[in-house]
């Protein structure tokens, strides 16, 4: 092996050695930084609060005794999304107790909200969905009125009680 080649290899080896040492020191520093981030906490910075207010201006319950023809009840409520992300909600009838053996076409409800109006629907005789997966945009209030009415041909001396429940979908917000 010639002397020149030997010197060249030696220089190359020394440079490799120095660069390796430098890289090792740098990598150790990177590791330290990672450990610091992990322990001191990015945790918490990704918490996103979804604030929603559901306001019932009277009890969210119906207690109708001796329903008579032309009986009309209005229930007002609002759903306010205080956050910037949109949210989905559903409204359902629950805890239905009634003397009706089956749904009566002369006893019905309609939901009128700022952003949706449901079809006129007969009152259910068991738990039922009024609306499902309705989207409410961020920083927006939806004013709603639930109107329950009985027609002229409703059989007398019937009772009906139920609750209407608004539930925010916590499985995920609307895209």
């Amino acid at each position: 092996m010639g002397k020149k080649w030997m010197i060249l290899i030696c220089v190359f080896c020394v440079l490799t050695f120095i660069s390796s040492i430098t890289t090792t020191i740098l990598l150790f520093n990177i590791e330290n930084h990672h450990d610091e981030i992990k322990t001191t906490g990015i945790k918490g910075s990704n918490v996103n609060y979804q604030s929603t207010f559901i306001t019932y201006y009277s009890e969210n319950k119906l207690n109708l005794e001796n329903i008579f023809p032309g009986n009309k009840v209005e229930k007002n409520f609002t759903i306010t999304n205080n956050s910037s992300d949109s949210v989905k909600y559903s409204i359902t009838w629950q805890d239905v107790v009634t003397t009706f053996a089956e749904e009566n076409s002369n006893f019905y409800y309609q939901l009128n909200c700022d952003d949706i109006t449901s079809q006129v629907t007969t009152m259910p005789i068991s738990n039922a969905t009024i609306i499902a997966n309705q989207e409410l945009k961020g920083n927006h209030t939806n004013n709603c009125t639930l109107i329950i009415e009985s027609g002229n041909e409703i059989p007398l001396e019937n009772n009906y009680s139920a609750s209407y429940i608004i539930k925010i979908d916590e499985g995920g917000t609307a895209e």
């Binding site: 092996m1 030997m6 290899i9 030696c10 080896c13 020394v14 490799t16 050695f17 390796s20 040492i21 890289t23 090792t24 990598l27 150790f28 990177i30 590791e31 990672h34 981030i37 992990k38 990015i42 918490g44 910075s45 990704n46 918490v47 996103n48 609060y49 979804q50 604030s51 929603t52 207010f53 559901i54 306001t55 019932y56 201006y57 009277s58 009890e59 969210n60 007002n76 205080n82 608004i166 925010i168 916590e170 995920g172 917000t173």
Partner: protein, 202 residues
């Protein structure tokens, strides 16, 4: 003569062989140093590889974590016993106390902070000494005060834990009649989110 030449050759071979031996030893030493440096470089290279791989996986882990969003729900269900309005068309005609009940339930999975306030006040009153209110929170007396004539928080920075319920009962009383034309007082009691307070989850 032939023998002398042979001896000279042997002497030369002997001397050169020792020189060659020394040179070979030096060459071996140089080669050893080069091999040692190369070996150390290779070992350090392997360590670098392992550390780089760890650094990469940790960076990925952190990045994945930062992409994960924790969503906490503050879902307040506010129920008024008899709407949110305070409506006195003629204060002098008030007989007996007026009651307001507000039930606030936190159906979410995170604590929330809110203010209870009287707003949208429209009144002909200029004197606060006409109407008073007593407020209780979960049957604990919060205060007995004059009904305000401008927008006021009647309970501020209230923290409600997830799954818990707060019931406010407000009793409004007339302190005295007033001698003005058309003494009326209209207002709303509302619940608003309080964004001034930082929520710390345990």
């Amino acid at each position: 003569m032939k023998n002398k030449n042979l001896e000279f050759t042997k002497d030369l071979e002997s001397e050169f062989s020792s020189l060659i031996k020394i040179e070979n030893q030096k060459q071996t030493l140089r080669n050893g140093i080069i091999i040692a440096i190369l070996a150390v470089s290779i070992i350090i290279g392997v360590i670098n590889l392992v550390l780089s791989k760890r650094a990469l996986s940790q960076t990925r882990e952190i990045n994945d974590y930062t992409k994960t969003e924790e969503k906490l729900y503050q879902t307040l269900e506010i129920t008024y016993g008899d709407n949110s309005n305070i409506t006195f068309d003629n204060i002098n005609n008030i007989e007996g106390p007026t009651y307001k009940t507000i039930t606030i339930k936190n159906n979410g999975n995170s604590k929330a902070v809110f203010d209870l306030k009287i707003n949208s006040i429209k009144t002909s009153l200029v004197d606060q000494n006409v109407l008073s209110y007593t407020i209780t929170k979960n049957d604990m007396l919060l205060g007995n005060k004059k009904l305000p004539l401008k927008e006021t928080n009647i309970d501020s920075g209230v923290t409600i834990e997830a799954g818990s319920k707060i019931i406010y009962k407000i009793e409004i009383n007339k302190l005295s009649n007033i001698d003005i034309e058309d003494p009326y007082f209209h207002a709303n009691i509302i619940v608003v989110p309080n964004h001034n307070q930082t929520i710390t989850e345990n």
